[in-house]
Amino acid sequence: MKDISSAIQLIPLENYVFLSVALFSIGMMGVLFRRNTIAILMCLELMFNSVNLLLTAFSAYHSDPAGQVFVFFIMIVAAAEVAVGLSIIVMMKRNVDSVDINLLNRLKW
């Protein structure tokens, strides 16, 4: 554990922040501008992971393992969420024969 923390600390904190901002932005753009639902789901995962990365980095720098515990939580929740999300997409594919997000406009009801 200590080795990993020190390994992480080899790289300056700013770099982690920049990387995760970049990843988050890419993910966000993907969510906003892609129409394929699977791609959107993947972009969401990307955003999760950017946050995870940040959490890990800060946790290591602060020597506080709570952050890394959170990462595990998030990964588990994300896995569960992917399962739900993918099954929605499968249902969508079966019902409307498409995974285009713009066809999912009945949420208002």
Binding site: M28, L32, R35, I101, N102, L104, N105, L107, K108, W109
Partner: protein
């Protein structure tokens, strides 16, 4: 004696109340004349009790006795006992109300015996008598006000007694509403009296009033407000138009309510408040003006009326004007004296008119009558007595009372005397016009078969005519060797203004000149209506402009309709259709509509487009971040 008075005084109003309850509750069980007999008997009992009270009071040596029954309202320092004040003024009024009332009740047995709702009639008449007795017996303004409103309500009931006719119902409502206008002034006056004197009871107020300065604004305001009430009830300008319309009621009602008793309530109230009025010279002057104007104005209208009851109604308004004049001159006991004699002769005139109408089968137009002198001798003689009395021919009662007022007017200002005398001459003319047209000449309506009325009707006529003839002897002035008995009797209850006495030679001169003029007028009327047998023009015939205006009562009713009734209806429509429906309601509904409009607008954003949602979400977060960074 005082204890005796206290213990039986309540019986006087209780008898008519009992009569009201019996005839009112058992009205479907009473047959034929039973209701009338019960009602008349109870009012007569009431009269006997009042007489008894009168003698007890005289022998007790006290001026007044206050009889408290129970505490009506007692809230904070507002203390209003349900109490009666038995003093010389109220006992006089009680005797008039119950005495004349009993006679009219008896008369009504004959007059109303064909009516299907005769029990209701007597119930209402008894209720009226009860209210009127409360009015005159009340020991404070509030009890007086109970009676005051009560008689107004009974008058409403009785004017609209034949409720099938919408015009009668309208007349009843008009009477009530006009009375209520006066009553508002009256009640405000009472309230101010209470705030000024911390009491509404007569004895307490009047004992405090001496300390007040004459002409103080508060006292002027109070007296004017009380006067407004009196003007409404006693049918003075500008609230007189209900009284002629009130003739829609059965004739005994007109005699009892709209001639002898109720309409004189205003006179009684002001005479009762004489101490306050003495302190308000402005109000007294207003009363002189109102009284004189009403006396002459109504008399002029009376000249051209062709309905026998309308003539008498305007004559009542005119005579009430004289009483107001007397009140304004500060001669309160003269006003009460005229009230008394007027009660006798005007009740007699109305009952006589009822007898005539009865005989003519319901016809009220004097142009269609005539020659009744032979067919109805008793009615004729009694009517003649009353006519002579109202015209002021000595030694009939009206002479004494009217002469007293005229003399007082002369003491104040000769001009007042001339105007008042003018009114008296007009009165004399139209009364003799009425007499001649009805009883002289030949019968003009062939279909009627006039006959003398039954004895139950003629006996009250005879009694009243005796009173009309000799009523004046109650108060023979010193000029004729009398002692002004009634005036002296009332002295303890009424504080009249002291004026300079005229020398007896002036007084005799005035009387002789006025008598000469009266004789001339009677002759003139005789020449016109008996010798030349002139008939008043029919409604269709064209008259001179002035004649037309007078025949149409100066169009006052029309003016009131145009200026008051119409705008009121218009205002009501305006409030409801414009303010309520076009402003307030839409304003409230508008808030609801605006909310749902806004909802419609925002709804479009929620189209269900997922990418837009996401975009909006991210945009929102970004805005937040920017906001935080900037601030």
């Amino acid at each position: 004696m005082v204890a005796l008075i206290s213990s039986i005084a309540w019986l006087v109003p209780a008898f008519p109340l009992l009569g009201f309850l019996i005839t009112g509750l058992a009205k479907n069980r009473l047959k034929n004349n039973q209701a009338g007999i019960i009602a008349s008997t109870l009012v007569s009992f009431s009269f006997i009790t009042a007489l008894f009270l009168f003698f007890s009071l005289r022998s007790s040596g006290q001026d007044s006795v206050t009889v408290t029954l129970f505490n009506w309202i007692s809230a904070g320092d507002l203390n209003i006992p349900f109490a009666f004040l038995i003093d010389h003024l109220s006992i006089t009024m009680m005797l008039i109300v119950t005495g004349v009332g009993a006679l009219i009740h008896i008369y009504s047995i004959g007059y109303m015996h064909d009516d299907e709702r005769v029990s209701s009639f007597f119930a209402q008449m008894n209720l009226f008598t009860f209210s009127m007795l409360l009015l005159v017996m009340g020991a404070n303004y509030l009890i007086l006000f109970i009676g005051w409103e009560g008689v107004g309500f009974c008058s409403y009931l009785l004017i609209g007694f034949w409720f099938k006719n919408p015009a009668f119902n309208y007349a009843a409502r008009k009477a009530f509403v006009m009375n209520r206008i006066g009553d508002l002034g009256f009640i405000l006056g009472i309230i101010l009296v209470f705030f000024t004197f911390k009491s509404v009871s007569f004895t307490e107020i009047f004992s405090q009033a001496g300390a007040l300065q004459a002409g103080a604004p508060m006292i002027t305001l109070i007296t004017i407000l009380l006067l407004v009430g009196a003007v409404g009830k006693s049918a003075q300008i500008p609230l007189y138009t209900w009284l002629p319309d009130a003739m829609a009621g059965p004739t005994p009602v007109s005699a009892l309510i709209h001639a002898a008793t109720m309409v004189t309530a205003g006179i009684y109230m002001i005479a009762r408040s004489s101490i306050l009025y003495n302190l308000a010279p402005i109000t007294l002057n207003i009363m002189i003006g109102l009284g004189l104007a009403t006396a002459i104005f109504a008399a002029v209208i009376g000249l051209r009326q062709n309905d026998i009851k309308k003539v008498l109604a305007y004559s009542t308004v005119s005579q009430l004007g004289y009483m107001f004049l007397a009140l304004g001159l500060g001669a309160y006991s003269s006003a009460v004296f005229h009230l008394t004699t007027h009660a006798f002769f005007k009740a007699l005139l109305f009952l006589g008119a009822g007898s005539i109408i009865h005989a003519m089968g319901g016809e009220q137009d004097i142009r269609k009558m005539g020659g009744l002198r032979k067919k109805m001798p008793i009615t004729y003689l009694t009517f003649l007595a009353a006519t002579l009395a109202i015209s002021g021919i000595p030694p009939f009662s009206g002479f004494f009372s009217k002469d007293l007022i005229l003399t007082k007017a002369f003491e104040n200002n000769p001009l007042l005397y001339i105007l008042a005398l003018g009114g008296a001459l007009i009165t004399c003319f139209y009364m003799f016009r009425l007499l001649y047209l009805v009883f002289f000449g030949s019968q003009r309506l062939s279909s009627a078969h006039p006959h003398e009325s039954p004895r139950v009707m003629t006996i009250p006529l005879i009694i009243l005519s005796v009173l009309s003839v000799f009523g004046g002897f109650l108060n023979i002035p010193e000029l004729f060797g009398g002692k002004s008995d009634l005036g002296e009797f009332l002295h303890s209850a009424i504080t009249s203004k002291v004026t300079e006495e005229l020398s007896s030679s002036t007084e005799i001169g005035l009387i002789i000149s006025s008598l000469a003029l009266l004789g001339l007028i009677i002759l003139m009327a005789y020449r016109t209506y008996v010798k030349r047998a002139v008939l008043p023009a029919a409604d269709s015939e064209s008259l001179s402009l002035f004649g037309k205006v007078v025949a149409n009562k100066f169009y006052i009713d029309e003016v009131y309709t145009l200026l008051l009734e119409k705008p009121f209806g218009f205002l009501s429509d305006f409030f409801f259709n414009t303010i309520e429906k076009a402003v307030l309601d839409p304003a409230v509904d508008g808030i609801g509509t605006a909310t749902s409009r806004l909802g419609n607008l925002v709804r479009k954003l929620q189209a269900g487009n997922m990418s837009f949602y996401l975009f909006a979400m991210v945009g929102g977060i970004l805005l937040f971040i920017i906001f935080i960074l900037i601030v």
